[in-house]
Amino acid sequence: MSTYSVHEIEELLGAYALDAVEPDERELVERHLLDCPRCRAELADHLEVAAMLAEGAPAPEGLWARIAASLEEPPPALRLAVAPPGLASSGDAAVVDLGAERSRRRASRLALALAGVAAAVIVVLGVVVVRQETRIDDLTKEIASSDLSDAAGAAMGDPATVKTVLTDPSGEGDLTATAAVTPDGTGYLMTPNLPPLPEDRTYQLWGIVGDRVISLGVLGNEPSVSVFQVDPAVGVDGFAVTEEIAGGVVSSQNDPTLVGTRS
């Protein structure tokens, strides 16, 4: 199968788009597509045309209900990152001010799985956020940045949006960011002048809810506009951005690059 030339692989693109190639050829094409943007574009065109050949039929009644029912499965239990407040370990009062003593007490209280409604809400937030993080992060990378910018711009223009300005806590420099959270809990973080990080580093966004610090998402090494999600029932009191290893961390020990509290 290594006898295929690039030209021959290109000739397969139409058949490949229609799932009409042999398995070994499929593999060849897929390998070629990885580093050939031109062929990826051609394939996308073929797929669009093919999609138009598909003749619709009304989907059977009850099918959506069955699909919806199978979505109801609860989130995977307890990858619970009610993040231990470590963000402000350097003592930055603007973010969180929690002694180690207090955080231990709080951790054990949480472990009791929560008599307090507020705590329960926070746990829910934590679970949801952590569960969503990876896929939102992956997705953010895929979405054309213009699309995100439009959505963020619309959110900024909405008077119901809660906006928080983040600044450099050292008071030096002119780094700034804006977090905009719409009433449905969709948040946008605009970071126009964060310096790019090396590939193996990332910025990470944290939300401050009461005296807890919760990861809201890994922003990548060169974020400009990022999307995140908070439970609209829970007010986020403030935000912080830290620099972390690529992939992010469950709780941070690093000094925040940016912080801001809701005014």
């Binding site: 058949a15 797929l47 059977p60």
Partner: protein, 192 residues
């Protein structure tokens, strides 16, 4: 996201909402595309129950791994239909399905004239697509139909049409390219 916003949402926005586990966003994707997915699966498999399973699988996959959809590589519709086609063809090519398929082909011949409804696709679009199809050389058209709607590999198509494999392969590609040009000129499918 409000119902109205969902209704007007772009594919990309819809999929962001799905990634946040917004069931309504998946419902909107289903409303827009389930008919096409179902129609294609049923056409390929000839079995409504199997086709339903495919639809279910395709939308569950979108729910579970929305990040696999890359809006820069094409529309959500073509993504979902490609998933549907791939899965249906896998099933078709499974050994156990072969015999049923032969029986079904016989039955289809017997029922020739049966026409699939165009519920989802805009009728003008359907018209233009059909027009573009008709402007292809008969052999290009046959090759594309046998591959896409019949689920045959290009090698099988070559046998069916009694033509060299290389010719069939080139015809499929050339035919798709021609249709693309034709449809873009007609103002269909240009936006991506």
């Amino acid at each position: 996201m409000s119902p109205d916003a969902l209704h007007d949402a772009s594919d990309a926005t819809l999929v962001i909402a799905i990634s946040r586990y917004e069931q309504r966003a998946l419902a909107e994707a289903y409303r827009r595309h389930a008919g096409a997915v179902y129609g294609l699966a049923r056409r390929l498999l000839g079995d409504p129950a199997l086709a339903e399973e495919i639809v279910q699988e395709v939308f569950l996959r979108l729910w579970n791994t929305p990040e696999k959809f890359d809006p820069e590589r094409g529309s959500l519709r073509s993504y979902l239909l490609a998933q549907c086609h791939g899965r249906s063809v896998d099933l078709l090519r499974a050994e156990t399905a072969r015999r049923q398929r032969e029986e079904r082909d016989a039955q289809r011949t017997a029922e020739a004239g049966y026409d699939v409804e165009h519920e989802v696709l805009d009728l003008t679009v359907a018209e233009r697509v059909r027009g573009a199809m008709e402007r292809l050389h008969a052999n290009e058209r046959r090759a594309i139909e046998l591959a896409y709607l019949g689920g045959h590999t290009y090698r099988e198509v070559a046998v069916i049409l009694g033509e060299p494999e290389g010719t069939v392969k080139s015809r499929i590609r050339a035919g798709l390219k021609k249709m693309r040009v034709d449809l873009v000129e007609a103002g269909v499918g240009g936006a991506r």
